[in-house]
Assembly symmetry: C2
Homo-oligomer: 113 residues x 2
């Protein structure tokens, strides 16, 4: 069993103003999926893109929108987002503080047959 505060995991900046921490990963023995915590600075956004794996997201704090190909939806504390494989998406911080969310992805990141 691994028990820790997520802030003790080193943060990586993978886009301007976008930090993520892999709080449960393959190195911990996770066999199926991994948990990351994202922090997007005010005015910043994750890239608008798609990929073959899904996202399961839970917003911890902050305000923003999740943008798809056809529409945008509001995000706030307690919002849950399921992004299916191959769906376009990005997460934009429209608030004044950080937008923090959990984002779980499959370990394999391979296409879903």
């Amino acid at each position: 069993m691994k028990v820790h505060n997520y802030l003790n995991t080193e943060a990586v900046e993978d886009a301007p103003g976008v930090l993520h921490r892999v709080v449960i990963g393959a190195d911990d023995g996770a066999p199926t999926f991994i948990m990351r915590v994202f922090e997007v600075k005010s005015g910043s956004s994750t890239p608008f893109h798609s990929h073959s794996w899904e996202h399961e997201v839970f917003v911890l704090s902050g305000k923003g929108i999740v943008k798809g190909r056809e529409k945008e939806r509001l995000l706030g504390e307690g919002t849950v987002v399921f992004v299916a494989p191959n769906e376009d998406h990005c997460f934009i911080n429209t608030g004044s503080g950080p937008l923090r969310f959990i984002c779980v992805i499959p370990l394999s990141r391979t296409p879903i047959e």
Copy 2:
């Protein structure tokens, strides 16, 4: 894409004082893992047990402990817990308010080979 507030999902009581909501499940098209949100009342606990699938947990609010076979660890907002397959565990609310946490499990719940 599915976007909703987790509180809009019906809660199920699966032990005394223990509610859970399946906020992203197989019905949403989740192909690999599902996300649940648990709420444990003050003084209540999930069952002490083990099973062949893993848990990936993030504590949203409250105070408690996670108990394993050999020791107990404190839980608070921002605590992350990885429970490996076949590890004994339970989550006990030792605070005065609700203990709320996300718990992600594989869709298959089959033994890990």
